[in-house]
Structure formats: C-alpha cells, structure tokens
Symmetry: C2
C-alpha cells in the first residue's frame, strides 16, 4: 500500500468537504432491507435460534455422542416449526420455495454450525436428492419422513479416493436382471464413502452415488436409495465406521460406508433423468452422458448456494463481535487526555475491519441475487440450459468467495480481540473450527473456480456445457480465439461498458474514484482482458502440440485468477445495482460508503494488475489508497450500527465479556 503522500484530511474536516454529512442509520430499516423478501422466514429462524441458544454451550461441554444426539433432537424440533420444509413440494407440506430454504439456512448460520450442517445434510442433501433426482414414487415413499426428521438420511457421494472428481467414483451398482435388483459394491479400499454426514450414528437411509453397470457396460454415475441401518444396526452387507473426531462440526456424525454386494430393488434408482427397465435396458431423455451427469449434479446446486450464504453469515457474527468490542475496549494512551483510546479509533484497526465489513455487505447482496436466480430456475421462470449453467457458475463462484471471506474475516476478527478472542466462550473458537471446512466441502473452492472459468470460456453455451475441465482445454484449443470471445457474454458486457465510457478509452483515467461506473468498468475490463488472455494461452499451448494436461497446469493460476475477476465483478454489480434501487436517505448514504469502500478495496488489492495493464497511473493508484483511508474515517461512527443491522440474536453472539466490556 502507498502511504507516503499527503495525509488524508481528518474526519471532522472531511464531513464539511463536498457536502458530506454523517448519516444517522435507521437500524431496523436497514435490517429489513437485508432480510429482504423472506423477512418472515428469517424471523421464524431467529426465534428458533434463541429457543435453542444453549446448544452453543453444549458444543463445548458435552461428549461427542451426547452432543450429536442433542443436535439431532434440535434438528427434529426445528423441523416441527416448518423451518426446514419450505423448499419441498406443497403436496408434502412444503411451500415449493427454494429461496426460503436458502434464507432460513443463511439465518440459521448465525448459530451453532453443527446444527446448521446437520440441517443441510438432512433436508438439503438427503431430502434434496430424493426430491431433485427421484420421481413420485420416491417422493411418496420418503419425503414426509425426511422433512419431519423422522428418518435420518445420508448423501453418500464422496469417497476417500475421489472428492471433487465425482465422475471417477469407484463404487459400482450392477444391475442383476434375474432378481431385478442393483448390487452395490465398494470395489476397492479407496472407494469407500467417507465424511458422510448422518452416517456414523443416525442415518437409516442413504442416497448412494455409484457407477451404474448393466451387462458389463458402464452408464456413469447414478444415485440409489439404500438402507444402511436397520433397528440401529448396519444393514446386511453394509459396513459403517465413524470418520472420527474433526477440527469442528463435531455435532455432525460423519461416517464411512462400505458396500459388500448390497442388493436394492430396481425402483431404488432415483430415476428422474435416467432409468433401467425390468429387462435391463438403460433409458434417458438426455442422450449425451456427460450432459446427463452434469444435469444430475446441477440439481444439487442448493448445497453450494447454502454454504456460501452460511459463510457470509458467519462473517457477520465475527464482525459484530469484533467491532462492538473495539467500540468499548480501550488500550494505550494516545494523547494527553489521560484516557486510553478506543481500539476502533486506531487507523490500523479500522483498516483491518472495515473493508471486511464492506465486503460482507457486498457479498450479502450478491448472495441475494444468486438466491433469486436459483428461485427463477427451480420455479421454472428462467430455466433453459444457459440459465442453469449460469446459475451453477454463479453458485460456485459465490460459494468460493463467501467461504474464503469467512476464513479470512473470522481470523482477522479473532486477532482483533486478542487473548479474549481465544477463549471458547467468546465464540471465535467454534466459528473458526466449524467454518474451516466450508472452503473445501460442497466442492473444493479451487475446483469451483475452474468451473467458473469453464463457463466464461464456453459462454454457458449448452453445446459445450458437458465438457469437463480438460475437455474445456481441448475445446478451446480447437477454436480461434475470436470465436471464444464471441461466445463469451463477458465480451458483450465489455462492449456495453465501452459504450458507457463518455470520454473514450481514456475516460477511466479521469473519472471520479467514487463513480460506480468507473468502479464497475475497472472490474469489467480486468475480467475481459483475463478471459481473452487465458484463451490465447490455452490455444497457443495446444497449437504447439503440448500435452493438454501440461498446458492446463501452466495456465492454471491464470485460469483461477480469471474466475476471481469474474466473480468479483458479479459481486460489485450486485451491490451497485441494489444501491441504485434504494430510496434516498441516510441509510442509502451509509450503504454508499460500503459500496465505495468495497469497490476501491478490490481495485486496490489488485492495483498492480491495473497498473501493469495501463488502467491505473501510479498517482491514481496512490489516490485510491488515500480515499480508502478517508472512507474508513467516515465509516467509524457508523460501524456499530452497520453490524447491529445484521439482526443477529444477541444470544448467538455469546461473547459476553467482549460485548459488555467496561
């Protein structure tokens, strides 16, 4: 960062310059804005959180089995309030509103995260797989008991040997035409299912993902409903082990499953997208096997949307504690006044916390857009192939950014609370340990960013959506770069941006740093430039006759940076778009500071790239740093209101000695 220039003006002065007057935030009104269309759902969840607040202490005090049972009991109680049913069909007691499911999950993430993830496993993964991959016979047989929590179920996809690479799973389901059964087998040691929630203790059923084989021919990965436990004992042919103690989330009973020729009836195949006749004929409306595979996986996007939202909520909890503490805790006398200074008055403390606060607001609204898109796809409003692929990409990118943000924010907030932040009762221990796995489950973040990049390079065109990541390499290599660019809607966006530039190509060198058109144009330029650069490098590598794997390895960090650039642009656009719709007033002024602080922090973090690519002079780059410091001063008196507006139930913050510091 650049610092050695003119001092930013002190806060008092700034408020008079340029007509800026410190806004008075209407906190309940801001909470209503954040809660959005699902305010009632969120209110119900807040009530449930408060009713079961003691689970935060139970997580520390109980033994692992006792705590797992406690979490299971709360899951069932919460289910009885209807909180977990929203996304299911009305016929089974739901509201057919997957957006409400996400809102409930996001809000639930203010509390104990074992409880959250157990809910995700039971209703999102297990119930969701039955609903999305199964047909009426499965819905009738299982949904009611799944929704009530009467029958606990597993989502048995991941294996020890294959996590992110689902297509290469080793479990096999062979169709036995004689008995009209599937025979499910763990073919080698590394093919056992691992880390499966609900498996170690509570699960009775599992949706098992396995390679379907009929008459010696493999039809790819499909899902089957398999009983794994009967009367508390493993079902015949099923071996179950505990995955063991984890860094966090120990209220979820993750387990391992081995199948030794386990037989299930033909009707156990979740057959929405493909079926096997009694005679053993494989049928599917989706001809291309890759496309079929991605269509099946695509219905499971809810998990990623939920986890990303959970990460954003966990960040809110951490920031609420750290900012409120820093507004009460004094340390070191800075002047001659005879009183120590509040931590939040230190410039460095503001620099540590406020950009994270602004980014949390930005991600909140990006998540809101994502949930809306998912609602549109699942409700059939906008659900063509392109919409679905775009949704998956956006879900992958938002999940990655939201969960990385959580890891970083929780760490920074913990450090900002010093030794007290290390005490389990002050909340950070659980927040940090429980969220840690968010970055790698429901899709490893790095792999997810590659999925985003694939979408960028293929323009979400349905013709190319069945390509795996290396198919993408070969595909891109087979095309002229111009064709790639033509297919990317990013390119179109850039054209649009260019049309927006009133003064031509040099406009961005003079535009105001606080002009959202400037901020958005910068991020769009970066994205477009990176996409075309990656395409060029991939093509050049292939033209030179190199091995696709080697080409990909060499370009991989560029690919991932490109995905970052894309998702960052989506996040900023969502925030700016939301801001534009707000009624004038003090809350809008306050959120405007958040928009500016977020946008400029993102540009500052990659200002070297912008300089390298001629979009930022060194003088202008330094000006951005000064502007950020100035924005931090303006945010200072608003910071506590901005975290209070998250509407986190006070019991969920828990950290009494930090929040009530005197």
């Amino acid at each position: 960062m650049a610092h050695d220039t003119v001092d930013p003006a002190p806060a008092e002065t700034t408020e008079e310059v340029g007509g800026y007057v410190r806004p008075a935030i209407d906190v309940p009104e801001l909470t209503r804005l954040l809660d959005g269309k699902y305010a009632e759902v969120r209110a119900l969840v807040r009530k449930n959180l408060s009713a079961h607040a003691s689970v935060l202490e139970d997580a520390e005090e109980m033994g692992i089995d006792e705590f797992r049972d406690r979490v299971r009991d709360i899951v069932v109680e919460v289910a009885s309030t209807g909180q977990t049913a929203f996304g299911f069909p009305k016929a089974y007691g739901g509201s057919d509103d997957i957006g409400a499911t996400v809102a409930a999950f996001e809000t639930m993430a203010f509390g104990d995260l074992s409880l959250l993830i157990k809910i995700g496993v039971q209703f999102g993964l297990f119930g969701g797989a039955i609903q999305q991959l199964g047909t009426k016979r499965h819905h009738d047989a299982y949904l009611k008991d799944a929704i009530s929590g009467k029958v606990m179920g597993c989502f048995a996809m991941t294996e020890a040997g294959h996590g992110s690479n689902v297509a290469a799973l080793g479990t096999v389901a062979t169709y036995d035409v004689e008995s009209q059964e599937f025979v499910i087998t763990t073919t080698e040691e590394s093919a056992h299912k691992d880390y499966i929630g609900n498996a170690a203790r509570h699960g009775e059923l599992a949706v098992v993902f396995a390679q379907l084989e009929i008459g010696g021919k493999s039809e790819g990965v499909h899902a089957f409903v398999v009983p794994i436990r009967v009367d508390g004992e493993p079902a015949p042919g099923v071996r179950i082990a505990d995955s063991g103690h984890k860094m966090g989330l120990n209220g979820v009973d993750n387990g391992r499953l081995w199948f030794d020729g386990v037989r299930v009836p033909r009707t156990s195949l979740l057959n929405r997208f493909a079926d096997v006749t009694e005679a053993g004929v494989y049928t599917s409306d989706i001809e291309n096997p890759n496309k079929r595979f991605f269509t099946m996986l695509g219905t499971l996007v809810l998990g990623r949307v939920s986890v990303g939202g959970g990460g954003i909520s966990a960040s809110k909890v951490a920031l609420a504690i750290a900012i409120r503490y820093a507004d009460r805790r004094r340390q070191f006398e800075a002047s001659t006044k005879g009183q120590e200074e509040l931590l939040l008055d230190y410039g460095q403390h503001q620099r540590r916390l406020f950009p994270l606060l602004a980014r949390t607001y930005a991600l909140h609204f990006a998540q809101e857009v994502l949930a809306g898109r998912m609602y549109d796809v699942f409700s059939g409003n906008n659900d063509d192939e392109g919409d679905r692929r775009a949704l998956e990409s956006r879900a992958a990118g938002t999940k990655a950014l939201g969960t990385w943000h959580a890891t970083r924010t929780i760490q920074e907030c913990r450090e900002a609370c010093g030794g007290a932040g290390y005490m389990s009762r002050n909340r950070f221990a659980a927040l940090k340990a429980d969220t840690d796995v968010f970055t790698t489950f429901e899709g490893d973040n790095t792999i997810l960013m590659q999925l985003v990049a694939k979408g960028l390079l293929t323009g979400y065109s349905s013709d190319f959506s069945d390509l795996d990541q290396f198919g993408m390499v070969r595909f891109v290599a087979g095309m002229a770069v111009d064709t790639v660019l033509e297919r990317t809607n990013v390119h179109k966006l850039f054209e649009r941006v260019r049309d927006l530039l009133p003064g031509g190509d040099e406009w961005d060198q003079e535009a105001g740093l606080l002009d959202p058109n400037f901020q958005q144009a910068m991020l769009r330029f970066r994205e477009e430039h990176m996409v075309s650069g990656v395409a060029r490098r991939l093509k050049r590598g292939m033209d030179a006759g190199k091995d696709p794997g080697e080409v990909f390895s060499l370009v991989q960090d560029h690919v991932i940076r490109t995905a970052h650039a894309h998702v960052e642009r989506l996040v900023l656009d969502a925030f700016v778009d939301k801001f534009a719709t707000l009624p004038e007033g003090d809350n809008k002024v306050a959120l405007g500071l958040m928009v500016d602080l977020h946008a400029l922090t993102v540009i500052e973090a990659d200002r070297a790239w912008f300089m390298e690519h001629g979009r930022l002079t060194t003088q202008r780059s330094k000006a951005i740093t000064r502007e950020i410091n100035d924005l931090c001063r303006k945010v200072r008196p608003l910071a506590v209101d901005l975290v209070d507006a998250f509407g986190i139930p006070e019991e969920m913050l828990r950290a009494e000695e930090l929040l009530n510091w005197e």
Copy 2:
C-alpha cells in the same frame, strides 16, 4: 498477478537453458545445515518427542484435567533429560547457553503444542523471570526446583484490562514499612490477572507484575514472587479461577488470579534492577523510570524469540504433510494418459505451497541469526544498550512474521489436503487451533510491529529507547526529518546499497531478477523510503498542531507497513548471507531456488508499491511473475526432499492416511 503474457517454458526445456541442471539434494546434509550449531540439542529433543508421541492422541482423547496432568507429567519427564535447563546458569545445572534453549524450543514445536507452551511457561517465563529479574537469593531459593519442574510457577503479567499495554497494569504492591512486607492487591475487577499459564491447576508460585507503591508514590511496574497455592489450595488472600476452555492449547491450565491484600516479605521483590530498603527507600541503578521499565521487559525477550521459532516449526510440519500428500494423491485426468495427475503437478498447487516453503526456509535462517544475536547479548559478547534494543526489535519483528506465516501456511496446507485435512487425526486441527494464539500472545503482532517502527525511527539510540509509542510521535515531531534519518542505521544501509549499484540509480531496472544484489536493493530501497515517509508525515501532523493520538492514528498503517518492510529486509538478508557461506554443490543450488523464490515472491506481493515508486516497470513486474512460475517448476521435483530435510520425527507428522496415500 499478471498472466496474460508469454508462457513460461516447461520444466524440461528450462533445465537445459542457462545451464541449469536439476540438483540432487543430500537430505541428511541439508538437515545438518538447518540444525546448525545445536544439532545435539535438537537430537535430544527429537528423541524426547518420539518417546512421548502418544501425547498427540491424548490431546484428542483425554478430558481437560486428565490431559493437563498428562502434559505436566511429560514436562517433568522431559526436564529430567536436561532439555529444559540449557539456558540457566551452570551453578544450577544449566549450560548458560540461551541459544540452546531456543533450539530446543524450536524443535519441540514439531510436537504437541500444549506441551511446548507449558515448557515455555515453566522454564522460559517463570524460570526466566526468576533468573533475569531476580538476584542470587531468588536463584538459590527457586531455580533448582523450577528447572526440575518440582515447583510449577506462573508468569502473572497480563490482566483482563491490560494485555499489550503492560505499563498500565492495575495490580498494586504497596510497601508496608512496619512489617517490611509488600501488600499485593487487585485494585479493580479488570485488574485481575488472566490467561496465566500454570495458574488454574499446577502453579504454586507466581511472578506477579504490579505497580510498586511506596509511601503513596508509584515507582512503576515491578515483579514479585508470590505463593499462590499451598498444598493444592489457594494461598490466603489469593482467589484462583480457571480461564476456561480455549480454542487450543487445552493442555495448559490458564487461570485467573485475584489478590486481596496478599502479604509477601520485602525480599520477594525481584531486585536485579531496583530494590526497596527495609526503611522503604526505593533504589535503582537506572535512573530513568521508562528506561528501567523497558530494561526489565527487555530481559524477557526469550519468550518472543521462542514463539516466533515455534511458529516457523509449526509451518514446517504443515508443509511436510501437505507436500508429501500432494506428491502421492492423484485427482482428475489432465491428459489422455488414463491416469489421474498428482496434485503436486498442478501449477496452482505449486503456486499455493512453494512460496510458503521458500519463506519457511528464509524465516528459519532469519531465526538463526536472531538466536545468535540473543546469545551474544545474553552472554555479554555484544550487549550495549543499542545491541539490546536492536535485539528486542528483531525479536518482535521475527515473532510477528513467523507467527503470521504459521497461521497462513497451516490454513493453506489444510485446504490443500481437502476434507482429509479436516480430520483431527490428520494433524491440522491441533496445529491450527494451538498456533492461533501465537499471533497475539507474547505481544500482539500489531503492537510488536509498532515497537519495530519505533526502533527504526529512533535508530536504536539509547537516548530515545525509553519512549513509549506516543512518546515516539512527540519525539519525531520535535526533530527535523534529516535528523531522524541520520539517526537511522537504515539510512546508512541505503547509502551502502547505493554504492553497490554499479550503474547508478537506474541499475535496478536492468539487473537480473535472480541477482541477490537486486533483490536486496529493492527491499532496502522500500524500507528507507517508507521510514523517511513516516517521519515526514508524523512531523507534518505535529507541525500542524494536531493531537498526537490523532496524528498517530492517521499514520498507523504506514508505520506498520514500514516495520514490515524492515523485517522483510532482515529476513532476506539473513537468507542471502547464509546462502553465500555455503559450499558449492547441489544443496546450494537447491537453496538458491529457495532464495530466489522467496525474494521474488516478496517483491511480487508488493509490486504495486514498487511500480508506484518508480522501481519497477510494468514489463519487469510481469517478468517477475513469470520467473516465479518458472522457479515453481524447478522446485517441483525437489519439494519432498526440501520438507524431509526439516527432520521432523515421522510420529509427529502423524497424518498416516495422507502420508501413506495410495
């Protein structure tokens, strides 16, 4: 990062270009180099680690009290091997070699960290305070039993209300001339001692830091030996509570202490630097109270040196697991070969792990220099005021960089091991939770960086070493900038660098990126430029009549960045200097890659600053990124040897399913 340029040449080609031939690392030889002059000490510790390897499982399986007792028992057993005595005087069974103490601590950090910190509390903090702040009467009374672990003791400095700001502690020790006793009192609720190791369960004695008051006059913070527990019960007037469950390090019994008029004899004052006569006259050879205070604190530098070294060792453990796993684990088919690729062959995976590996090597050698300087000061070789202040600054900076590095490295390595990394048995859970507090204990890292900055601005001159951080502001403000710069040895360094530049001011624009003179000159330029910039800004703020606290707050992030720049330069210099002394050979070639990768990664991370300040063209900036990618390809085949050379006992890595992945 810049990516959209020419592909780096693939590894095979590179090896032929420029005469580079892949070195064959002699691992035992490299381990000897890393172990340095204390190889025997480290061998003893490795033996002790292996003997008590089961403690890693105990940490998960035992209840908290059982585990605390287990850790205490191992501490006593380890003490019986002589491992913890090295730094104490020969008369009490030690070797008078504080360097050996640090080497033992660093090596012990490969294992369970509760055990490590309990050792630090008992022998470093408690024993060290008796030794460094006390005189013969205290040594005779306490050292033998402290060194054997027969008597467990506390270092009772931190209070709930004051952690980093030790000068403002609230506990008071009033001299009662009548009884010739000190009366120790917790004056207000926030003045109770908190987070004190050994207090909750095992400690019998405590070195208590309190404001000494004689006849109504305060003489500042002094240390007293106070019995806190007799026959297992709190001593009269002492109230003890458990600090409670922590994120990690639960084998250390941290507690809270309240003193209600606790009386101790006059001789309980640790009186090396100040004493009170029977009649109640305060005496000290150090006239200036601030200087006396900092002299006392300065003797406790061992804690910071140790914790920094512990962080570096913990990083080694994380990297050893992640790199060895990535060299065995395959995921995704990248080419048509029909076999999945090793994680370590992915460019992005190399980018994630190898710069952290290089930085770990750099920090190792910086830590070696630091330990050597500490030995010099404590053995009396070089112990004038300036040497001591420079040591404290270097210890503060290395501790901050080493512990931040640990947090970052452990997180990255955990994510690089996916879901398996989340399982407690695979080591990362404990590594992450136990090291988390390293960034804020033994001095909060941010505060420590301010201490470093103070040294830079005052040139370690003894005239100014008694200034607190705001004293520094006022001091700087009272001087012309030129005077400040003249006093900084950094400035002299820069002059020396300039002399080195063969082609004048433009030389660095053309020098080879792999030329260590270039790498060092870049970091020296940055440091000098930032120091003068901070001084200018502080002076300008004071000249404008602003409140010192406000001036400091506005400049604080610049102050801290300056300290970073300084410590980064020290680290690189240490690594380059070490490299220069190595005999020619393959190990030197391999370490050369580490030097280059580390240096260029540091420059790349702040390349925006270098561009903003005219020391890097955009073309050259991009070239650095390409060079780093090329270095990663060269490191790839050496990476496993480079972590094996750390010499971590295999049982300490523990993560069997990761290390033996097939």
